[in-house]
């Protein structure tokens, strides 16, 4: 596998204006090859991180990112501009991850999650790897929506308003889900 070292990224998703978002969507709908590459350069890191934190392995995460780009290509003409383009892309990615998880659940010979969560050399010496492993395991035990809210807020640094748009819930609901999830994780965290 052509995997290089996995790295921890701390950059938030760059914001863009509504007119810029519509221009990007129109270019995607027109099949502009360059615009897809720009999107990949701009959002690729976040897309890979979100997918990896949902799916637990690089191979599935890359497939989900690829599928997301194909879906963007197919449905860019339906982008209305109500949500930001990044939010729209993340929504497609999260739904793609849900599809992968459901397919995986149906597979009889599914490997246990411990085996699927890949470990790799990382550059984040400030936090203990064991803690990361524990949290990753706990995250994979969470229901889809809770995992998404936690991942998007705590890991990706998105706002509750953005998460609400991505997951089709209210901002308040997102806030409540995060609080309940963190409480739940905290209890399990203490037990581990």
């Amino acid at each position: 596998m052509l995997q290089a070292a996995m790295t921890t990224v701390l950059h938030p998703v760059p914001a863009s204006s509504g007119s810029e978002d519509r221009r990007i969507a129109a270019a995607c709908a027109a099949g502009d090859a360059q615009i897809f590459e720009d999107i990949y350069r701009r959002f690729g890191a976040s897309l890979k991180s979100i997918a990896w934190n949902h799916l637990g392995n690089i191979s599935d995460a890359e497939d989900a990112v690829q599928e997301t780009f194909l879906k963007i290509h197919r449905s860019a003409s339906t982008y209305t501009g109500e949500a930001s383009f990044s939010t729209w892309i993340f929504r497609i990615l999260v739904n793609t991850c849900y599809d992968v998880l459901r397919k995986r659940k149906r597979r009889i010979d599914e490997a246990p999650i411990e085996d699927m969560v890949e470990t790799a050399e990382r550059t984040a010496p400030s936090v203990d790897e064991a803690k990361r492993m524990t949290l990753r395991k706990l995250l994979h035990e969470l229901p889809e929506q809770r995992r998404s809210v936690f991942t998007l807020f705590e890991i990706e640094g998105l706002s509750h308003a953005e998460i609400g748009e991505i997951l089709g819930i209210t901002e308040g609901n997102s806030k409540w889900i995060l609080f309940a999830t963190k409480k739940d994780l905290q209890t399990k965290w203490k037990r581990k």
């Binding site: 996995m6 590459e37 690829q66």
Partner: protein, 209 residues
């Protein structure tokens, strides 16, 4: 702002920098809340370290190829099926509408014909019964006056026929379009007409020996 231990959850739920700062100030003086806050923050810190990416020089070329292939690919069978359904619906809808209108018009015409035919039958029936009642009036006196066994027999037969006719007419009132009942009624009226004519003939025979 001074807070109590009960409010720590509200501050964690709020999650804003101000709320977290307030919680931290309280935690500095409260061991239990300090532990809660430490665990909360540890969870967030660990979560932030899970933001992960990796380099894969082949991923973008792979995505690019997939997009290019998708652009070149002819319509997928699902899209073709959707297009076919759309065309059928687009062409079929006006046809279906026209047929429906024609069917409705035909049904309306049939209803009109049926109603007018029924009106005609009832009109004819009314004329017929009126004629029989006139005939009946001519026989009334003879039937009332005569004590001959034949006349008494005619009288009884006519009474039975009248009862049967009344019952049949009551049934027809509930089901106007029942042709069978109307045939029965016609048969009874014919019988009554025949009987009345027999009475008159008898009368003529008596009057003109």
């Amino acid at each position: 702002m001074t807070i109590t231990c009960n409010q720590i959850d509200d501050l964690l739920f709020d999650g804003s920098p101000l709320a977290m700062e307030t919680a931290a100030r309280h935690a500095a003086e409260c061991d239990a809340c300090a532990q809660t806050l430490a665990a909360w923050n540890e969870l967030s810190d660990t979560a932030q370290s899970l933001r992960t990416t990796w380099d894969n020089d082949t991923l973008w070329p792979r995505i690019e190829r997939a997009i290019r292939a998708e652009r070149k690919r002819p319509m997928r069978w699902t899209s073709r099926a959707a297009a076919a359904i759309f065309i059928i619906a687009a062409l079929g809808a006006p046809l279906f509408y026209m047929l429906r209108v024609q069917t409705r018009e035909a049904a309306f015409d049939r209803t009109i014909i049926r109603v007018s035919a029924l009106d005609e039958v009832e009109r004819t029936e009314r004329d017929y019964t009126r004629a029989i009642r006139n005939l009946e009036k001519l026989t009334d006196a003879k039937l009332e006056d005569s004590e001959s066994p034949l006349m008494v027999s005619y009288k009884e037969k006519l009474m039975l026929l009248d009862d049967a006719i009344a019952e049949c007419e009551a049934n027809i009132d509930h089901n106007r379009q029942n042709a069978h009942l109307r045939k029965q009624l016609l048969a009874m009226y014919s019988e009554k007409q025949q009987t009345l004519q027999d009475v008159l003939r008898e009368d003529s025979d008596v009057s003109n020996p």
